[in-house]
């Protein structure tokens, strides 16, 4: 829709995101029930998360730690005191009639995350983080419309699962930027090991607030804010925003409706029809009647705890990217690709590069041979048949001219299949080291046997060497062709 959008006026897109992230705790936020995904309905529940009369919540300290870690990585401030509030509304998947959340004192506030602007690889786009607060998840309502009975079923397994809701400033200006932000956020959160960030499993959920600022001859016309829900992939987020941009522009042209006279509305994303649709509001201008939860004590966060968490943060993805470039001399693009694959890939690269002593060659092999295989075979780097040390070993041999690229690829393919060491694969393939005297003998034989080609070479016909190299390969498959070439040229010139 956007691609074909013809606009009379130029406009700017304003996007803010609300991201719900399920924290990677063993147990729920206020009880000891497990949070494993995919269990049979209503099997991971207890009186506390079922909201039974008389049951009381007890805070999971681990969730606090993970929230602090995330906040620090997003450059947020962590207050010395925070608290729990009740957000009240009626819904069958909310058994207490309120959700324990954080209202006016979120655990993380006022941070940012920098991402590369997809429209300009050189520019960084800084997305402000307004706040990140902890809350318990609700259950799932499953509306059985297919049976025609209109029955609704409720699975309360998810009730009480810890969520961190991250709210950004409306700092993104394109759907691509929003996608880039989400990609970087997911990378950061998985790097920190605070969340699995699986959108399909609901451990990362995104709502996007979108509107347009249209330049009408120097006057801004601002369209009503639309909150888009039900997006189940980053790609869907991107497409939903693109769709919404076009829809809002056309709607503005048709109705002239602006933010001044229209409240925020919610629209759902229909992935199949590739469009947003108006959603019925849960409760018109809901009053959640937030108040401090009297069952829970305020949370004091000692400055020492924050300092220790900061200390333990380690290197963040952005820092790894720049270090890989300086330490291993690889390109920004290569560093980006490696880091974006996650910590396991970074470790693999660094190990292989240390062993090979050749960062550039290692990143080149990683991006091509290794990642292609991973993609084709649907593997994970942690289960890759060629260990980082073996790859490093192999590439070290290439760099020190013990193997040429072609033979190295044979060895790599053999290791992929047979899981052996470099040494074993070389042996199995019958590759033998050829010493320099053998090489010189071979070259002398070729020169002696091909006087015409030698004459052509001396006459400046460089391409004539190909024939000699082909013969060399036949006579001794183990000969390093690069070395043969160098030796031949040297001998011809003499």
């Amino acid at each position: 829709m956007n691609a074909s959008l013809q606009t009379t006026y130029t406009f700017e897109t304003i996007i803010g995101l609300e991201v719900h992230v399920q924290l990677k705790t063993k147990t729920k936020l206020f009880c000891r029930c497990e949070t494993t995904f995919g269990a049979a309905p209503n099997t991971q529940v207890c009186p506390v998360c079922l909201g039974m009369p008389g049951a009381l919540p007890v805070m999971n300290e681990r969730a606090i730690e993970l929230a602090i870690r995330t906040g620090l990585a997003l450059d947020c401030s962590i207050p010395p005191m925070t608290k729990w509030d009740r957000k009240q509304y009626f819904y069958p998947d909310l058994p207490k009639g309120y959700q324990i959340s954080q209202f006016d004192l979120p655990i993380c506030a006022d941070g940012f995350l920098e991402v590369v602007d997809p429209a300009n690889e050189e520019a960084m786009c800084r997305v402000g983080i307004i706040r990140a607060h902890l809350e318990e998840d609700a259950g799932k309502s499953i509306h059985d419309e297919a049976s025609g009975s209109g029955d609704s079923r409720i699975d309360l397994n998810r009730c009480g699962t810890p969520l961190l809701e991250i709210v950004t400033q409306p700092d993104m200006r394109s759907a691509a930027q929003a996608k880039a932000f989400l990609t970087e956020l997911k990378l950061l959160l998985t790097h920190l090991d605070v969340s699995d960030c699986e959108m399909q499993e609901g451990s990362l959920r995104v709502d996007a607030n979108v509107n347009l600022r249209i330049d009408v001859d120097g006057q801004w016309a601002i369209t009503p804010i639309v909150e888009i829900k039900n997006m189940n992939s980053f790609r869907a987020v991107e497409r939903a925003i693109l769709y919404e941009i076009g829809r809002q522009y056309i709607a503005w042209e048709e109705t002239g409706a602006t933010i001044e006279n229209n409240p925020k509305v919610t629209r759902g994303w229909d992935d199949d029809r590739e469009q947003t649709f108006a959603q019925r509001e849960k409760e018109a201008s809901a009053d959640y009647r937030y108040f401090p939860d009297p069952d829970l004590l305020p949370i004091r966060i000692p400055v020492e705890q924050v300092d220790a968490a900061r200390e333990a943060l380690g290197e963040l993805p952005a820092q790894v990217r720049s270090r890989l470039q300086t330490q291993y001399g690889i390109k920004a693009y290569d560093a980006d690709v490696i880091v974006n694959q996650g910590t396991a890939m970074i470790t693999y690269f660094e190990t292989a590069a240390e062993v090979s002593g050749d960062g550039k060659r290692t990143s080149s092999w990683l991006l091509q041979d290794v990642m292609r295989t991973i993609k084709e075979e649907g593997l994970e780097i942690t289960k890759f048949p060629v260990s980082a040390i073996s790859l490093g070993d192999l590439l070290h041999r290439v760099s020190s001219n013990k193997l040429d690229n072609a033979r190295a690829r044979d060895v790599f393919a053999h290791m992929l299949k047979n899981h052996g060491t470099v040494e074993a694969s070389i042996e199995a393939l019958g590759i033998e080291a050829v010493d320099s005297s053998e090489l010189e003998t071979l070259c002398q034989e070729l020169i002696d046997a091909n006087p015409q080609i030698v004459a052509d070479l001396r006459g400046g016909k460089q391409q004539a060497i190909g024939s000699l190299l082909g013969q060399a390969k036949k006579r001794n498959p183990n000969a390093n062709i690069q070395l043969v070439r160098e030796t031949l040229l040297k001998m011809v010139e003499q």
């Binding site: 009381l56 009639g97 309120y98 004590l297």
Partner: protein
Amino acid sequence: MPPRLTGFHDTNLTLSTNAMPVDPSIPLDSASELIRLQASGDLTAVQITQASLDSIRRTQPSINAYTHVAEDSALAKAAEVDRRRAAGESLGVLAGVPVAVKDVLCTRDMPTTCSSKMLQNFRPPYDATVVGKLRAADAVIVGKTNMDEFAMGASTENSAFGVTRNPWNETYTPGGSSGGAAATIAAGSVPLSLGTDTGGSIRQPAAFCGITGLKPTYGRVSRYGLIAFASSLDQVGPMGWSVQDTALLMQVIGGHEVRDSTSLNLANEDYVSATKATDLKGVRIGVLRDAIDHDGLDDEVRSAVKAAIEVFKDAGASIVDVSLKHSSYGVPTYYVIAPCEASSNLSRYDGAHYGHRSQSADATKSLVSMYCRSRDEGFGPEVKRRIMVGTYALSTGYFDAYYLKALKARRLIRDDYDAAFESVDLLLGPVTPSPAFRLGEKLDDPIQMYLCDLFTVGANLAGVPAISIPGGLSVDGLPIGIQLQAPPLREVSLLRSAACFQANTDHHTKRPSR
């Protein structure tokens, strides 16, 4: 056919009628005596339990102290105690002692209704912590006692299962909300019961029924399994005739618990030993002058408090006048905070998961009408009133003016207590403005009913421990209560002084004539 008993919500529940007259040699008014007589071999737990159940059977039709009587499980427990005693096994401190439990505390093996139609058929899958502690102490739980619905009220008239009557005079209320818990003791059926106190719900019925009732420091007793009315104010406490018995039960139920975040991480103290004191030398008692001079205070109550002052003085305590400057804000502060929390705590009763769900045609139309109809049918008028007040006070635009203002007032009230306790060890005053009032007398006037809490809400708002002890009878033969309040965690000093008072008076030995 055994007669069906009025006031029982559980229509399957009947009591066997082959009731024997209560053996006067079984002292159902003293837990310590029952313990002693079992140890000496003079009584068995089964005999005691049988006597207790007989008494309940006789008094239930008129007093209606119970929502559920657990005859079979009580007798089974008693038999177990006797068997274990005979086998020389170790037993808990309340072995073979019949105890009644207010129906706001969860019991795995009995209905837990909060005297509400909403929870009429509700059986929790777990025991409240205090109930578990009773079981561990080998107490015999005889049943669940009637109360104002969801503990909201001061007369036990707001029960979906009928009013409870005062054993001293059945035309009077026993007070509330722990009216059944107080009345069953006054009726002579059990020596001990568990109540809960949010704004006076242990102390006021204790005063009206001539018994002793302790509201511990907020956080002393686990609230796990106590069905919440107002979470920041609710506290479970013991009730009995004497301070000694009350302390004995406090010993069993007190202590830290990890499942309640507001439970204080402190070891239980020796409450029982504290009740052996006989003089109060060096104890400074502050008399709440404003309460004694209050216009709304009944003259007979005033006289009883003044008489109590003399008793304490004679026991060696020094007496000074003190004043809690913001005490007049107690009731209004309480009646904002408590309904706010209640409106939230009672949101879970929506008919979706458990409890009453409306079967009316209207309720099947939509989710919202199911909610509305279920709540309309399930809750009584006082509960609805408080939900509405609380919902209003927490709404956008009113939150600051009501809820936040009330929190500030609560802080001032707490500060008053802190200031007072800098110069005195205890505060002395009335429990209630008057002795028990007649059934129906205040039913149509919620404000008059709320003013019953005038002298009791302060301890809840400040979180301090307070005790109600018998201080004599009115000319109409109705009990009058005396209240002592202590600084947070000073239950020991509270019990010590209260025990000393009882050592020098016989008010707690008076029994209703039946």
